[in-house]
Amino acid sequence: MTRRLAVLTVVCAELVFAGTAGDHPIENIFRPLSTPAHEISDVSFLAVIICAVIFSVVAGLLTYAIIRYRRRPGDSDAEPPQVYGSNQIEAAWTVIPLLIVFVLIMVSARVIASVQNAKPPANALHATVVGHQWWWEFRYPSLGIVTANELHVPLSDTAHPQPTFLKLESVDVAHSFWVPRLNGKTDVIPNRANDMWIDPHEAGDFIGNCAEYCGTQHANMLIHVIVQPKPDFERWVAEQQLPAVEDPSVAADKQAFLSVSCVNCHTVKGTSASGVFGPDLTHLMSRKYLASGVLSNTPENLRAWIKDPQAIKPGCLMPAMHLTDNELDSVVAYLRTLK
């Protein structure tokens, strides 16, 4: 019955918040797509119902009271009876909330334990999330992959359950990893290892945000979690494991890229570029977005970004490099080959 109620509510909610925009269905914490998010959604739903009932009762009584007991024109000047209290009813309205509270404690405790104490199964994928001021680094230590801003994980349907366990670290300030449809937040805090897990039941691109204020560009620290069916995911892994593409047609452009100071901050595997301050660019073209979700990855956007990142993401930690137009063309041409 509750299920049905829940379904009904979600349907209503979908009507209200309807629509899919662009590639993303609208995020909504009550439309979970992963076990932890599901459990959270259920207990949240319960909390909402309980609070709604309490609200209706109390607000109803209050409304009744202020209408019924308002002073009406022509009322006499007499004072109403002076009631000082009632032990009985006061005890009742202490005990009833206590009971409700007790229920809330129990169910919260269960879900807390269930989400936090989950142990990774043998086939779980392990990945590390590293928060940077204002972008995300994703590492798959067991696969030897380093990428940025777009976290690829395998689909975990009932036929092939394969959760992904994330280790969360930060190199600078505190961030928070939040993809509403997959799980709640877990903070990403320097000098502290946190973890969380997801097992998405549906393929797609799920969007999320950094949810802990982390400085100027906190607003533009978006997360994309790309859930792929197992074969697609494996193909992606294989591609990522390769060193950077060597395209002879851009050999000169490559030289140009390596000669400007991009290399101080960015890595392109297989070249002399080995900076670690900015995102790894080895497979830049495999990403849909640039600069943690701010721009879609088109040649024009890429050029604009490299020309003046500060115009696009003011305050971000990549400086405008003041490249000449020629240099810019070469760099973009080269980067465009990094599939």
């Binding site: 918040f17 629509g19 925009a21 662009g22 609208i26 909504n28 914490i29 998010a37 459990e39 959270i40 949240s44 609070c51 309490i54 609200f55 109390v58 607000a59 209050l62 009271a65 202020i66 007991y69 009322d75 109403p80 009876p81 009631v83 000082y84 209290g85 006061e90 309205w93 202490t94 206590l98 509270v101 809330l104 879900v111 807390i112 334990a113 936090q116 104490n117 600078d172 300030v173 505190a174 928070s176 939040w178 509403p180 709640g184 937040k185 877990t186 805090i189 320097p190 000098n191 502290r192 946190n194 945000n209 949810a211 802990e212 204020y213 400085g215 100027t216 906190h218 607003a219 305050g315």
Partner: protein, 558 residues
């Protein structure tokens, strides 16, 4: 100074007006009523400033990818908005209300430590000015200046030298630290006053609930503020002496700051709501014409809330990855606060029940307070459901929750207090007509602003974002929210107009315009410097009931 002015009939008012003397009389005053008004006035000015900041915030967010302000400015705006509202509006309003009313309500001539009282006011004011001076001076006098942009809870290590260069964060630390001294001083004063200065017969069991709530509030201030001060001192050491408290590179802990801040921060939010509780507990009975229902329970509930609130702080930190057992503990403690708070709500309701309600403006604000605080508390309980909070924390749902408590409850309570006691303090009545405009516009604006924010949170909008991309379903709700904010601004303008109008040509108030029951209504409006010509004596918790019903006084039954 101490010369006696004979003959006594010559009123001081009849002396010739001199600017320097007037100025001196305010600067050097140790009169609790003047200081109370100074606190309130400063707080209202800071409120207008912070309110304008909120307007800019809402203007920026009205449509996606808006360009009213840039990221830096926006971050400074919400930091200063939050900091100002909490430390330079909330705290001085507490001090102002307790200063003005407590001595009058307990039949005292002044606060226990009048000079300390003056010191408290001035150091609060200078602290506030210091914070705002950052707009000019934070990069050194040569730079453009910049206000702090670290958020009102200034999480480490964003506040460390490495991530927050310049001195804006130092201004945040010092401004709050200095004005915090003022809050502590005035809280000590409130405690000493209520314990030591009560007039004859004013037993604790007869003390007005307002005073009870404010004295519990003062206890919370003296216990809760030092952790913030301690944390700030450590942060200052980090920034100036290279200490490593919150320096994560050297083994420092970012989470420790969060603990220290919220050990202060959670009690602080109850500190902020208590003046509203206090006011509602006085206004509701008077306008329902009934005594407060379950007085002992009300006192007990306030004390219980005070105690429990020191054990719930980490519910602001459910997402930092605490052990399940800690999460359960703090969730439990947070739920438990709902019980005494519920008792308060129910007792107010029962006070109204069976009464004969006069809907004057103060009462309107109180009724709205009860409704809105109910919702605020219930969303608070949802947040305390740890798993729910994993989704909602740092989202707009939280913004909605705490504006329900702060705007919808605290501010409404303060407006109730202003409408209720303005006649006492100035001798003039505020206009009921404008008051009703103020009230209804504020209610409408408030709900338009903050109701949609719950939905925004559920749709995944994080707080403290200066911009957002279109297409995530957030546009309509942000639009409504911003429009609501504008309506609130109109409401506040009505309020300002009402006050100014009343001061200039308000109707005379008389001593007891509301037909009330507490001691302050037995003196003139405004009261003389010494409050009462002869020391009052009380016999019950409603001394004026006794006087108004001599054939049937309360004291026979208490």
């Amino acid at each position: 100074m101490a010369t006696v002015d004979y003959p006594l009939e010559k009123s001081r008012r009849q002396r010739e007006f001199s600017l320097s003397e007037a100025l001196y009389s305010w600067v050097a005053t140790v009169d609790h009523k003047r200081l109370g008004l100074m606190y309130m006035t400063s707080a209202i000015i800071f409120f207008l400033i912070a309110g304008v900041m909120a307007m800019v915030i809402r203007a920026q967010l009205i449509v996606p990818e808006n360009h009213v302000v840039g990221p830096q400015t926006f971050n400074r705006l919400f930091t200063m908005h939050g900091t100002t509202m909490v430390f330079l509006v909330g705290m001085p309003i507490i001090a102002g209300m307790s200063n003005y009313l407590i001595p009058l309500m307990i039949g005292a001539r002044d606060m226990a430590f009048p000079r300390l009282n003056a010191f408290g006011y001035w150091i609060f004011l200078f602290g506030g000015i210091l914070l705002y001076f950052s707009y000019l001076g934070a990069n050194g006098l040569f730079g453009a200046g910049s206000a702090p942009d670290v958020g009102w809870f200034a999480y480490a290590p964003l506040t460390e030298r490495a991530f927050s260069r310049g001195t804006s964060t130092d201004y945040w630390i010092l401004g709050i630290l200095v004005s915090g001294i003022g809050s502590i001083v005035s809280a000590i004063n409130v405690i000493a006053t209520t314990l030591s200065m009560r007039c004859k017969g004013m037993k604790l069991s007869r003390m007005p609930l307002f005073v009870w709530v404010m004295v519990v509030d003062a206890w919370m201030v003296i216990l809760a503020l030092p952790p913030l001060t301690a944390g700030q001192v450590m942060l200052l050491f980090d920034r100036y002496l290279g200490a490593n408290f919150f320096n994560t590179q050297a083994g420092g802990s970012a989470v420790l700051w969060q603990h220290f801040f919220w050990i202060f921060g959670h009690p602080e939010v109850y500190i902020l709501i208590f003046p509203a509780f206090a006011t509602v507990s006085e206004v509701v009975p008077v306008f329902s014409r009934k005594p407060i229902f379950g007085r002992q329970a009300m006192v007990g509930a306030v004390v219980a809330i005070g105690f429990i609130s020191f054990g719930v702080w980490a519910h602001h930190m459910f997402a930092v990855g605490m052990a399940p057992i800690s999460n359960i503990f703090f969730a439990t403690a947070s739920f438990l606060v709902a019980v005494p708070t519920g008792v308060k709500i129910f007792n107010w309701l029962a006070t109204i029940w069976g009464g004969k309600i006069r809907f004057a403006t103060p009462m309107l604000f109180c009724v709205a307070f009860i409704f809105q605080f109910l919702i605020a508390g219930l969303t608070g309980v949802m947040l305390a459901v740890t798993p729910f909070d994993w989704q909602l924390t740092d989202s707009y749902f939280v913004v909605a929750h705490f504006h329900y408590t702060l705007t919808g409850s605290f501010l409404f309570g303060v407006f109730a207090a202003i409408y209720y006691w303005f006649p006492k303090a100035t001798g003039k009545m505020l206009s009921e007509t404008i008051g009703k405009w103020h009230f209804w516009l504020l209610v409408i604006g408030f709900h338009l602003t903050f109701d949609p924010q719950h939905i925004l949170g559920i749709l995944g909008m994080p707080r403290r974002v200066y911009t957002y991309a279109p297409g995530r379903g957030w546009e309509p709700w942000n639009m409504i929210s911003s429009i609501g904010a504008a309506i609130q601004a109109i409401a506040i303008i009505c309020f300002a107009w009402n006050v100014i109008r009343a001061l200039i040509k308000g109707e005379r108030a008389g001593d007891d315009p509301w037909d009330a029951w507490t001691l302050e209504w037995t003196t003139t409006s405004p009261p003389p410097e010494y409050n009462y010509e002869t020391d009052p004596e009380v016999r019950s918790s409603r001394p004026l009931w006794d006087l108004k019903h001599p054939e049937d006084p309360d004291w026979k039954y208490e």
